[in-house]
Symmetry: C2
DNA sequence: TTGACGAGTGGAACCGGTTCCACCGCTGCT
DNA sequence: AGCAGCGGTGGAACCGGTTCCACTCGTCAA
């Protein structure tokens, strides 16, 4: 349709001047700028981002890699990221990485390697060294929110401290038979989110002189409500040595556990205290005690860091709290209470 | 980095031939093609999509406009859409439209109007005529999944029929005092999703010779779990003429209602039958009777239609069931039972 | 008065592909 | 034998911007 040369002709200036006037770079007399803007508006000129990208090398587009969109935490992050990017004039290209597989390789080698994104924001993903390097080589900044990957900027909460804090809350209430509904892979991957939360749990327990009753008191669950339900039934199914309190690796897992308790006729918090992690939007409704984090804000913050890396805005102000873990907060509700007797 | 001219030089051919060899368009001798591919692999050549877009006008990128990412239905659709687009080699640029506001205008006038997307897929959004027209003028196909917008290809379930079906299920069980937890705006916007479901409800009721007991038996709720809880308390709060069955406009609303019933000590299904709509992943766990739809499949189907409109693939095979409503299915679980006495 | 400098502008190269057109040589048909 | 037709290839234009460089003109300092 309308190209910048049309605008230039209509305004009686050269392409060069029209470009300067519209993009705001370089010197243009105010009167000229006005004429060009007028002309652009008149013919409904819209710049082609492709042409601009081709020559500047900047696409104004950020790739977001995320393992789930339908888990509360990730959906919330995505919303925060999208809003922040849009506000900065950036597009967001979404890559939903399922379980590690051949698809994943395709995303990194084909989609992200092309010159279509200026940077990559990975949420809750463990990046392999060659994946980081492949993006590094193309000088695309990477920001990690949670997850891991050597050599990339990284924001995250302190999952170990969270596990500790949640467990200590239960300990302070006098519980001693405390179980942990961990995320899948907690035992196998010590550095993963489930792994760190599990470690915090174990540290708090042993600091209190307690050892969880064997593997019966640490059960792994898929990090979802149904996962919590299934593993919850398993955990609570043996009436003999049933725990009086459970630290669930996420709120969704906790909801599933509560549902399982309900099904088994175990009252909460009377017979069982439950604490989760996340600050899920339903936590209040279900009276779930939890360690809150704020995924939408985290997403916005990650975008801020990313824009800094891209040299956007005044490079003067330093990164906000770079290095420090993101804020979390213990919120006590009705799902936890003192140990029975 | 490496440009196609480098590949061409290394392979000893012209840019033109290198381009043909790599893109697969036009005639190239097998031996030549092989030499070019070899050369491309050797220097790690990756084509610049910007340059290609500039000249072909095709971006291999689809804009997806969605009002929520953190509602189950929408998250599920998004996953389906993303997977299908990725498989076809397309990128997905996400635009999260909050409530109608100034942001929305910006998305349509600035982001979508540029030449960066080949087509737009709008999920659950009512497009204003000028929004459709603005995209039409730029010859960008639009596919609607749910929502409305004259002049665009549209896929949707039959929300009126669903309301009718759900209500009839309750009627068949002998209920007569049936309430409806409608979505926000159901009364005001008759053509919206909540509006159509409400209409189906009313039609089924009057076909059975019943009239809902005034406005006390149709309450509007935000289409979320907390929304269903709040409005559920309101609906069930008057013990006098409490309904024996409720048709909730979505599964999430139904979950909230069930939670409210729980809080009020009303047993389900003993004292109250509940039916929802969606086929939420938690429905099975909570024993919720529902009219299932399949958002991920719907998303994939919408992508298929979109690719057809873009002339992708063999244009021979016709649109799948174009015009016919998307499939839904009544799934009876333990939240509904015969009317008391 | 002269020269340096900066604002303001135009010409042209350039980004990295795709595609039109011309051309060559070979096959196969008349 | 002559020519149409096609496979195979290269040259060059082109997509729509941005930016380097050169140039002019006016101002201000030496």
């Amino acid at each position: 349709m309308a190209a910048i040369s049309d605008v230039a002709r209509l305004a009686g200036v050269s392409k060069a001047t029209a470009s300067r006037a519209l993009s705001g770079r370089g010197h243009v007399a105010p009167a000229t700028r006005h004429r060009v803007e007028q002309a652009a508006a008149e013919i409904g000129y819209i710049a082609s981002p492709d042409a601009a990208s081709l020559v500047t090398g900047r696409t104004m587009n950020v790739g977001v890699v995320i393992p789930y969109v339908n888990r509360w935490f990730f959906g919330e992050v995505l919303e925060g990221v999208e809003t922040a990017l849009l506000a900065a004039g950036y597009d967001l290209t979404l890559y939903h990485l399922g379980e590690p597989g051949p698809e994943r390789r395709r995303v990194f080698d084909f989609f992200l390697a092309r010159k279509r994104v200026d940077a990559v924001l990975a949420v809750g993903i463990d990046l392999a060294p060659h994946e980081v390097e492949s993006l590094d080589r193309r000088e695309k900044p990477i920001v990690l929110l949670g997850g891991s990957g050597a050599g990339a900027a990284r924001l995250s909460i302190d999952d170990r401290a969270i596990g500790q804090l949640a467990t200590e809350h239960l300990l302070h209430l006098g519980h001693t038979r405390i179980a942990h509904l961990a995320g899948l892979g907690a035992a196998a991957h010590g550095h993963s989110v489930p792994g760190l939360r599990r470690r915090g749990f174990l540290e708090a327990m042993s600091a209190a002189g307690l050892t969880p009753a064997g593997r019966a008191h640490i059960v792994e669950a898929e990090m979802s409500l149904p996962g919590g339900y299934v593993s919850g039934l398993q955990l609570l199914g043996h009436p003999g040595r049933r725990p009086t309190a459970v630290f669930a690796a996420s709120d969704e897992v906790a909801f599933g556990l509560m549902r399982a308790a309900d099904r088994l006729g175990i009252s909460i918090p009377g017979e069982l205290s439950v604490i989760g992690v996340d600050g899920h939007e339903y936590a209040d409704l279900f009276g779930l005690t939890t360690v809150e984090q704020h995924p939408a804000e985290q997403g916005a913050l990650a975008v801020e860091v990313l824009l800094r890396l891209l040299g956007e805005g005044d490079a003067v102000d330093p990164l906000p709290d770079s290095g420090a873990p993101l804020p979390t907060r213990l919120v006590v509700r009705s799902s936890t209470t003192s140990a029975p007797r």
